[in-house]
């Protein structure tokens, strides 16, 4: 009997060792650019290689390795640090720390609170404090408390993203698409209207200040100027347009309401009352009544009913009904990269498109995918990136001149992709010091500025960019930086348990789904619902349902 057990145990051991060997053969996961240098310590760095690419990280790697070439972080066993970069497409929520061999991560769509609660991230409070001790560098006010969990920080904000409208400044000038002070159309040197901010001169002069002006301009482009107003990737039309609706909603509702979507704390918030939305002949197409309430955990569901959400849906509905999109790009085989390239080349091939519906990453994404290089090959100097001037179109935050929207002067946007830099919790203890040093290096004031110069976007925190750097950036990147400086980009952070323990429930894309439709694009385009009907559908919670779901958070 003992013999038999012994034989079986031996066989089992053999099987385990074979299985272990088979899995061990897989080794460190990730594709790195270079061979390991055994004389140095390796830090494995994962970078989401999407719209912002990896070039910015390669620049930092070189500088860091040079600066710490003679430093040992492991008591003299090795000297210097080798940064092993793993460019990949793993979203933050898909990262598997038990199989990933990386130590440091720069990722997007990170569900920060879920990871922190799971114990996935290393406490980097000291790093955050040291980064923020630099002159001119700080977290945004909402992040200071919102990123803390039990009084500790576990990540630093990475890039800041927002969806919206890109416009071709050169085309607007060439085709006289700017709005003149008298309401006619003119070029950039004409007598321009004051734009959405009502201030003249400022960056938005001549751009539509109201929904009425915006759609008047679209009509003018289409019928008189011979310009197609919009281009949108057919493959991603549903998702991109849903992001756009959220962006327009945020702009119309303003910063206080948009922040309340995460904090559940705001005073005197207007919401649309039940059964009050009626179709009419107004610019919006709908009339409605509002009431006001102070938002708390007990009535967060009212945030689903804000006028901005109806405004955003009506905006999209008008774009669809007005047939303002380039029809060929709406084919399901047109990717976002195709749409970007078609947009870049449209003016040069005399089939001009004025605006692109995309995110603030688009220009860098088009650059890293060589769209500008190909454009230059085709159209020589005219196609060169430095000869093109694009801009961020502010979202009109008033329906018409009579609209008394109290939030109408703030072009608010949501920082969409919850992007963070962090260190894994179970990093080899020998590497902790080096990893923290590297993270601090990435967030040195000068490297924050370099990041913006390379990618054309801001990191989602406060820091400075010199005038010289700014002048060397593209026209579009300058607009993105100005948007960052305006402070109107809302970060998805909160110190309210209701949000951070249920963050998936409050994802902006989840909250725009209604019944059989995940996206308003399909429902509105198919004529299944009007914007008003869809708006009523995305209220999602009644008072009782809200209480049922979140009673534990209602004091």
């Amino acid at each position: 009997m003992m013999k038999r057990v012994g034989v079986m145990l031996a066989a089992l051991l053999m099987a385990v060792s074979v299985a272990f060997g088979a899995t061990a053969c897989a080794g460190r996961q990730g594709e790195y650019d270079e061979e390991v240098d055994i004389d140095r310590m390796q830090l494995y760095v994962s970078n989401y290689d999407g719209g912002f690419g990896t070039d910015w990280l390669r620049d930092i790697k070189e500088a860091f390795e040079a600066e710490y070439a003679d430093t040992s972080f492991d008591g003299g066993k090795t000297t210097g640090v080798q940064i092993m970069i793993d460019p990949n497409k793993d979203k933050g929520y898909q990262l598997n720390f038990s199989t990933s061999g990386n130590d440091i991560f720069f990722a997007e769509e990170v569900r920060y609170y879920e990871n922190v609660m799971n114990g996935d991230f290393l406490d980097i409070t000291d790093v955050v404090q040291e980064v923020c001790a630099q002159e001119g560098v700080s977290l945004k006010s909402a992040q200071e408390k919102g990123l803390q969990y039990n009084g500790k920080y576990y990540a630093l904000p990475h890039y800041e993203t927002f969806s919206g409208i890109v416009y071709d400044k050169d085309l607007f000038n060439d085709k006289s698409l700017y709005i003149a002070a008298d309401g006619s159309y003119t070029n950039a040197s004409g007598d321009l209207s004051a734009g959405p901010d009502g201030v003249k001169p400022s960056y938005d002069d001549g751009l539509p200040a109201t929904m009425e002006e915006f759609f008047g301009l679209c009509n003018y482009m289409k019928t008189i100027a011979g310009v197609t107003p919009f281009i949108l990737s057919g493959e991603h039309a549903a998702k991109y347009s849903a992001n756009f609706v959220n962006r327009v909603a945020a702009a119309y509702d303003g910063k206080a309401i948009t922040e309340a979507r995460y904090s559940f704390a705001a005073e005197d918030i207007a919401y649309v009352t039940e059964n009050s939305v009626k179709e009419d002949g107004s610019v919006l197409g709908y009339a409605y009544e509002t009431a006001t309430a102070d938002i708390t955990n007990a009535n967060g569901y009212l945030l689903m009913r804000t006028p901005g959400r109806l405004y955003g849906l009506a905006f999209l509905e008008k774009l669809i009904d007005g047939d303002y999109f380039d029809a060929t790009s709406l084919s399901g085989t047109t990717t976002h990269l195709n749409a970007q390239e078609n947009y870049i080349n449209s003016k040069l091939k005399n089939a001009p498109v004025a605006m692109l519906m995309d995110g603030n990453w688009w220009e860098n994404e088009a650059t890293v995918n060589d769209a500008f290089t190909r454009s230059e090959q085709l159209y020589l100097d005219a196609g060169k990136k430095e000869n093109r001037h694009f801009g961020v179109m502010p979202i009109p935050t008033k329906i018409d001149k009579n609209d008394a929207n109290p939030n109408g002067d703030s072009d608010t946007a949501i920082d969409m992709y919850t992007s963070y830099a962090f260190i894994r919790a179970d990093i080899d203890p020998v590497k902790v010091d080096a990893a923290k040093t590297f993270l601090k290096f990435c967030y040195k004031a000068e490297n924050l500025e370099k990041f913006t110069a390379t990618t054309g976007v801001a990191r989602a925190m406060n820091y400075n960019v010199s005038d010289t750097t700014l002048e060397n950036m593209t026209s579009y990147s300058q607009d993105v930086w100005n948007m960052h400086l305006s402070g109107s980009i809302v970060t998805q952070v909160s110190e309210n348990k209701l949000y951070y323990e249920n963050m998936s429930d409050f994802d902006s894309l989840t909250l725009i789904a209604y019944g059989n439709y995940a996206y308003p694009w399909t429902a509105l385009r198919g004529g299944v619902y009007t914007a008003a009907e869809y708006f009523a559908g995305i209220w999602r919670w009644t008072e009782a349902e809200w209480k049922d779901d979140y009673d534990a958070y209602i004091s």
Binding site: R4, L12, Y93, L95, E114, N150, G515, N516, T522, G526
Partner: protein
Amino acid sequence: MEAIKKKKTLATFNRKRKIFYISLIALPVLQFCVFYLGVHINSILLAFKSYTLTDEANGIYSYIFAGFGNFAEVFQNFAKESYLVNAIWNSVLSFLVGWIGFFGSLLFSYYIMKGWRLSKLFQLFLFLPSIVSEIVVVTLFKYFTENNIPAFIVAVGGGTIEGFMFSSDLGVRLAAILFYTVWIGFGTNILIFNGTMSGVSDSVLEAAKLDGVRPLREFVSIVLPMTYPMIVTMAVVSVANLFTNQMYLFSFYGASAERQLYTIGYYLFLNTQEAGNSGLSEYPYLAAFGIVVSAVTIPLTVAFRKALNQIGKRFE
């Protein structure tokens, strides 16, 4: 003299043979225990747990017993979310339409087996999508339905039409996907049926031919009964896949398919994928959802298999 045949057991093996035998089966048994039994038992247990804050001072969350709470949530969601009910219908629709492909592929297999006109060409065209990578076939189909067909209609003087896969009419999208499901299903089924039919004895077919049996009779009375066990296996597998079938939605739309097109299989896959590795709180609900659909599928599969076996007895 009656030779007594001793059944071979582990005890009858000598030591070396024992070691060889155990070494041979240990790995698959271990793999089965860990990756099949372990995973399934864990999934079943997970359905009765919730991911909850257990150590408030240190902010630590862990799984605790939650009774039937997750199952209640599943049924509440079915009552609340119309697209989930719709997903059941889409799963059933895909299953039923799959049967058209199933019968079609039986007929095509027979056609190919007989070596009738163009059968080699049919074989090539029907096998090709099964041999080429799925994502390539999906991309080709997408280009064909989004660009080529609309362009062709314009070229022959028709009006401008939308592509099918991204049509604003979700009914058109569904029809295009179902067409794809049937078409792509042909390849795999034919590959298997053709292999099985080639095992039908030539002498039987020759004898039938001499008796003046016409092709239809030959198909119904000889080929079908002789390939019936394989047909049963394939049919039972298709029933078992009723609620795991994604209808190729992820291949066509990634995570962005419209809800009206969802099948239960796609819903489960999407939610598991989107829960990702950080969404530990989502897994118990998904495990409960899986058990609920299994509770429907298992008796259905068993009953279906029994019914088919009864029919099979008639052939005998």
